[in-house]
Structures are given as C-alpha cells and as structure tokens.
C-alpha cells in the first residue's frame, strides 16, 4: 500500500468515507473499512510531512560528470 501515490490514496480515502456514510454494512465490514480508512489517513499525512530539505545544485564538472552540491541560497 505504501507504493500508492498520494492522489490514489486520497481518492480511495474519499471513496471509503462515502461508502461508510451511505452504506448499510455489517459491523464487521464497517470496521474493516474504518481500519482501511485510518491507514490511508496515516499514509497521506506521511506523504505530505516532509522534513525541510536543503536546496541543491546540479552541475557538470570539467570532465563532464554530474555533480550534486548544496546551493548557497536562502529561500526565505
């Protein structure tokens, strides 16, 4: 499930909420859906919650190799 894209996870979550609200499922089935919904909430929040990343710089050096470094730039 972790492979799911954010968009797909959100869509699935909306769908489950809709089903729970509309449907007349047994308590068992409802709980299963609820649990799936909660996992999706957790997954979506994880995907949004990124720690502050450094702004990086990509360049080719004299030999033609790609090099990553950090960019001296204050984004604020």
């Amino acid at each position: 499930m972790k492979e799911m894209s954010f968009e797909k996870a959100m869509d699935k979550l909306e769908k489950i909420v809709g089903e729970l609200e509309e449907g007349d499922f047994s308590l068992d089935a409802s709980l299963k859906k609820y649990e799936e919904g909660i996992s999706l909430v957790r997954l979506c929040r994880e995907k949004l919650d990124k720690a502050k990343q450094k702004v990086e710089r990509l360049m080719r050096d004299k030999k033609g190799d790609l090099k990553r470094s950090s960019l001296d730039m204050d984004p604020e």
């Binding site: 894209s5 954010f6 968009e7 959100m10 979550l13 909306e14 489950i16 909420v17 729970l20 609200e21 499922f25 308590l27 409802s30 709980l31 609820y34 649990e35 919904g37 909660i38 909430v41 979506c44 929040r45 995907k47 949004l48 919650d49 990124k50 720690a51 502050k52 990343q53 702004v55 990086e56 710089r57 990509l58 360049m59 080719r60 790609l66 990553r68 960019l71 730039m73 984004p75 604020e76």
Partner: protein
C-alpha cells in the same frame, strides 16, 4: 574622315580597375532597400542574390563569414535593407554590392526568425498536444533551470517554500541571455534527464527529479532570445521529465512556451503549477478523518441499539449460547474500536466500557444470574400470576437449565 583626337586609351582591365576604385571611394558604405530575387547559395557557401525594385536591379553577394551571423533565412520576395560597399568583380566587369548586414524591412530580423522557426517546428509536430505530458500532482523533487543570480530563482523558491515547504529542489544555474545561453539551457535540461537515469526514485534520497521549471525573468526580445532557439526547443521536446516553461512576462510567448508541457506566465506562476498547497491538502485529510470517526461512532451506536432489541427477542426463542455469542461479539467490537481508534477518535474508553457494561446489564442472562427466573406457559412468558390457574403446565428457565412444573395455587399481590 574626321580625325578624332584620342585621349588616353584604356585597356579593358585598366578601365575596369578605375571604375572599381571610383566606386570604392564614392560608395564605401551604403544602405540599399529592395526586394530579394534569384537567391541561391552554391557549394562555396556564399550567398548570391539581386536586389530589385520596379526600375532596376543590383547584384549582391553576402560572403559566408557574414551570413553565419544571420538569424533568419533569406527568401525570394522578401523586402530587405542591405548595408555594404559597392565594388566591382573585375573578371566579369560586374559591379555589385558586397553585403555586410542584411535585415528584413518592417519587421525585425528576430521576429522573422521567430516566425520561421515556429512554423518549422509546428510542422514537425513538436507543439502537438499528444506529446505533452501531465505534471505530477505531488512532485518529490523539482528541477530548476534558470540564472543562479536572477530574481526569477528567488521568486520560484519563495513560492515553493510558501506552498509546500520541504519539497526537494535542485537548481542547475545557467546563463539566460547571450550567445552561450542556448547551449547552457539545453545542456541543463539534458543533465537533469541524465541524472534521472542513474537515480530512479523520485523525491527520495537518490535525487531524481519529476518536474522541471525552465525560464527567466522579463526582458526584451533580444534578452529572451535563447528561449526561441531551436536547440533549446528540441531539448525540451526530448525531455522525459515534464517541463514547465516560465519565460519573461505575461505577454511574452517564446518557442519554449509552445513546446513545453505547460506554460506559465511568470516564474512565480510556474512554482504554483508545480506544487499543490500543503495546508489545503492537510485540511482535506483532517476533515475526512473526522468523518470517518463520526461515521463509525454512528454505526457503533446503531449496532448497540439493534443488539439490545435482538437480545430481548432472542431470549424467547434461542438457546443461551447465541446470546453469549452476541455478547462476546460486542466485547470484541468494543475492543477493536478502542484499539484502532485510540489515537484517532474522541470516543473515550470509559464511554465504550459504559456502553458494553450497559449491554451486559440489559442482557437477560445477567438478570438470570442474579437469581431471577423466567416462567413460560405454552411458549409465552408469564409476567402476571393471573395468567395461571392450578394444574397449568409451566416451564421455568434459570441462568443454567430449566424445569417443568405444574401449578399448585396462585395468589395475586
């Protein structure tokens, strides 16, 4: 016979040379306006054409070293202005204009070049919708090709930080004007694509990039010209990474804008296209979470109510173990809801316990366990002694087991 006095007798070469020197000194620099005809470029690479108007024509030559600086293609019928010097091609006794500068009359050379390239690439299909890729909804890492020192980069970083702080950002600084700019811009786009080939996981530590912003701030047509160059257009077209072009101001449209996957009016607008707003998404998740919790609580309440009804009617017909099973289910559900919902709902443990406890209290079995018994006559419960008379056969159910009896006597309260 009239003897004419002969002045100096020229040789052909001599006369031609003198004419040449005369023209050299009289017309060392001229601007001439006319219409191009008979334009051709033989294998030498030099351009030969005539400039004509309604009355006359002038042979012209544009040597290869000057033509390489041309920004547009010369075509018959074009109205142009030529700057150069008049000279004589002595071998053929032909006077001609040696052209240094040629530009289209009316529209600028740049504009003509723009139109020509736009038409050419459009015919090739580089601008077709079917080649345009969609942008990722939530990119893990954004690549930026722009000047390292310009305002454009600052604007992009500011907007990205405001909308979605923490998103990965990688910048390849380039010149954005001047003759080298087109090579650097094209190279930067290729570099990001090469980088991705060795780093499969977008947004992860590996550093792959899943959308590019290519652009610069506002300027004149000359300033923006690099983004109208064919080499840049082809680099954008060949990019596997989706490209948002962001060149200049609202009203500027460059070839890069036509060939890229999305066009933004400004660098800031490009940043807005690249990422969604984190707070908006967080709010949406939060409200879905609340709905989940309140819905499951409603379902639980409904089940509790239904279970109460069922318990009361079941005791008349079903054996004891069914009631025990139902009670066990309620306990199980209560446990599961509590375990899963512990962090996510506002259903407090005490509420669940109370609910479960009430259920148990409602259950007829717990009543029986306290010593009460139920009396049945003809399958129906007896609530009132007046329903019985002596010699009636009755069944008494206890918490454990039952007995059959015959009524001896009856007494009302």
């Amino acid at each position: 016979m009239v003897e004419t006095k002969k002045a100096h007798i020229y040789t052909v070469s001599g006369l031609t040379r003198d004419v040449r020197m005369l023209l050299d000194t009289t017309f060392p620099e001229v601007w001439v306006e006319g219409e191009i005809s008979n334009f051709h470029v033989p294998s030498s690479g030099h351009c030969y054409f005539s400039l004509k108007d309604s009355g006359s024509m002038l042979k012209c030559v544009l040597f290869k070293r000057s033509s390489s600086r041309l920004r547009f293609n010369i075509e018959d019928g074009m109205h142009v202005l030529c700057f150069g010097r008049l000279g004589v091609y002595e071998k053929q006794g032909q006077y001609q204009l040696y052209v240094d500068i040629i530009e289209p009359k009316g529209k600028g050379a740049l504009y003509i070049a723009f139109e020509q390239l736009k038409e050419k690439l459009q015919k090739e299909g580089l601008f077709d919708e079917k080649h345009k890729k969609s942008l990722p909804f939530l990119p893990g890492r954004i690549g930026i090709v722009t000047s390292g020192t310009g305002a454009a980069l600052k604007d992009i970083l500011k907007v990205l930080g405001r909308r979605f702080s923490g998103v990965g950002i990688m910048v390849y600084p380039v010149k954005v004007q001047g003759d080298d700019a087109k090579y650097e811009i094209a190279e930067a786009i290729k570099a990001f694509n090469d980088h991705n080939k060795h780093n499969r996981d977008p947004g992860g530590e590996s550093g792959a990039v899943d959308v590019l912003i290519v652009g610069r701030g506002g300027g004149s047509l000359e300033d923006l010209w690099a983004f109208n160059e064919e080499i840049v257009a082809r680099a954008i077209f060949e990019s596997d990474i989706p490209v948002i072009s962001a060149v200049g101001h609202e009203i500027d449209f460059t070839i890069s804008d036509f060939v890229s996957d999305r066009r933004a009016a400004t660098p800031s607008a490009a940043a807005e296209l690249a990422v969604p707003e984190k707070t908006v998404l967080m709010d949406r998740i939060g409200s879905l979470n609340l709905k989940l919790d309140s819905t499951i609580k409603n379902i639980f309440d409904r089940s509790r109510a239904r279970l109460s009804e069922l318990s009361e009617s079941y005791v008349l017909k079903e054996p004891v173990n069914v009631i025990l099973q139902l009670e066990q289910q309620v306990d199980e559900y209560a446990r599961r809801i509590f375990t899963e919902a512990e962090h996510y709902t506002d259903i407090k443990k005490s509420m669940i316990d109370i609910a479960a406890g009430r259920l148990r209290a409602l259950s007829p079995l717990s009543v029986l366990e306290r010593g009460y018994s139920i009396t049945f006559k003809d399958g129906k419960t007896v609530k009132n002694a007046r329903a019985l008379k002596p010699d009636d056969r009755i069944v008494t159910r206890f918490a454990e087991g039952r007995s059959a009896s015959r009524v001896e006597s009856v007494k009302s309260d």
